[in-house]
């Protein structure tokens, strides 16, 4: 087997390299990191590419570079992380290179000229075992990336020529926006009451607020609740919100999609109430109850009040 090529999202950590290391070692191939940021600990080879269009991030520019790196190195396995850049680049790089793509991966195991991946689908309710021919592109869920890469011998540096597409881009970076400061800091909260889609509507959020107040907790919400406009954006936990590590996370009607779990799995104590016994949140909860969240929240508020 050949190399493992890892696209390093300039905005996140390099844990994807720790995920990639056993794959490269098993194959006897090199662990090649493609980074627009220069230094990458834990890679065997760093592909350096320098062009003004690469920073700040523009999807089209990074897609062109990833395609060029695949063309130059012809790796057996290409890994991206399921961050915004992973969504932008993974499937499009696969399509450009005419390679198969497997998304939402929690684990990848090569076997000869094939690989088997386990992917979290339907919001983590089900795990699909996927078999794919190699070479292939895999997008790995952030929730599966636990370890930092071990820094080994200094990586060999190779220069990748900037692809000509970078000089003829049809998209551009305009400006960074500052999200409004709403005076909420979930990341330092000791206790969090988090509402999910099961809360049903804006009119029911008050009930969770009362419980949060009785507990001395911050109110938070998962993405569907935020996107519906029921709770302020500053209170979002998950991929596009805060990452929290409270002593208590109490989830009410939260399904536990991987994008949410990556923002709260470090909580010391996870208690979840959901009417759906198949909700993925029960797979990471320390304590779970299949029950009506409204009844349980009322009873809790009464006990604590």
């Amino acid at each position: 087997m050949g190399d493992v090529l890892v696209y390093i999202d300039p905005a996140v950590n390099t844990r994807l390299l720790a995920f990639a290391r056993p794959l490269a070692d098993a194959a006897g191939g090199a662990l090649v990191a493609l980074s627009a940021n220069g230094d990458v600990p834990g890679a065997d080879v760093v592909l350096e590419v320098s062009h003004p269009a690469l920073s700040p991030y523009v999807p089209e520019a990074h897609a062109a570079v990833l395609a060029a790196a695949i063309e130059a190195r012809r790796p057996d396995i290409v890994l991206v992380e399921n961050t915004t850049s992973g969504y932008d680049l993974g499937a499009s790089a696969a399509a450009a290179a005419e390679l198969p793509f497997v998304g939402y991966c929690l684990g990848v195991t090569p076997a000869g000229n094939e690989a088997e991946a386990v992917s979290a689908i339907y919001g983590g309710q089900l795990h699909a075992t996927v078999r794919t021919p190699l070479p292939a592109v895999f997008a790995v869920n952030s929730v599966a990336l636990h370890e930092e890469p071990q820094a080994g011998a200094p990586a060999q540096r190779e220069t990748l020529a900037p692809p000509p597409a970078l000089d003829a881009l049809q998209s551009s970076f305009v400006e960074a926006l500052e999200p409004p400061d709403e005076g909420v800091d979930l990341s330092s909260a000791e206790m969090i009451v988090c509402v999910g889609r099961g809360i049903g509507g804006a009119e029911n959020v008050e009930l969770a607020e009362e419980l949060a107040e009785a507990l001395g907790a911050e109110l938070a919400a998962s993405r569907p609740v935020i996107d519906s406009g029921w709770v302020a954006k500053a209170r979002q936990i998950g991929k596009s919100g805060a990452t929290v590590t409270p002593r208590l996370y109490l989830g009410l009607g939260v399904s536990g999609a991987p994008e949410h779990v990556e923002g709260m799995q470090g909580s010391e104590l996870i208690v979840a109430v959901n009417t759906d016994p198949g909700a993925a949140i029960f797979n990471i909860a320390h304590y779970g109850a299949v029950a009506d969240l409204f009844d349980v929240a009322d009873e809790l508020t009464a006990l604590l009040g």
């Binding site: 680049l89 993974g90 970076f173 596009s240 299949v290």
Partner: protein
Amino acid sequence: MQIAVAVRLAPKAGDELEPDDSGTDIDREYVEMAIADFDEQALEEAVLIKEATGASVTAVALRADGAEQALRVAYARGADRVVMADAGELDPYDSRTAALAFAQAFRELAPDLVLVGVQTPYDVFGQTAPLLGAALGRPHASVVVGVTVEGDRARVVQEYAGGRLAVLGLQLPAVVGVQSASSPPRYVSMTRLRQAMTEATAEPLAVAVEPAAAAPRIVSLERPAPRAGATMLEGDAASIAEQIVSVLRERGALVS
């Protein structure tokens, strides 16, 4: 200015999903299918742009059980035109082939802007927006939380880890994977839905997709194992609440 929106079906959130007899797909028999969450957001964003600019909105679905109804809902939500793409025996839940079918439909319809939900809960073989962008050879961006159109460019707000935001300019035609509309999808009245039942007529559009030679496939589908040592609390709501409080006391999460 023409906007096309891909409308896909997904199980209603909260429905309990089970593998079917093949063990490689979900059993849809008792599951309610509706427009996928993020596609609802994409459709809302398209209608917001229409309201701001007078653009026309075409909703496109792939033929499947429930797709006619989804297109009527799209019409009720503000689509001007609804199109049913028919790719014969194609599996509309295989995200890669579905994206190729949508790409062919969009080549025919030639919209200035394609909006599609950033993901479906089952697009394990590739998300539609990047696959469409690659297939159509047009710029694309995913995880977008707002789109406006200025001349021949789309101004899109892309969201990153932790909620950071940046504005990108995409030369039209372009493809955008929408995470959330600029404002939440609006309530559609029953009257409007009933009206759409009679008014909306889906235009048929035949598309053909060649199956990929080296395609990944699902070999099994399972419920994940629960966390080792997880405790399920039983009893009525009052009893569950008492058990939660006593766990919090034991763990020192409650002082009193």
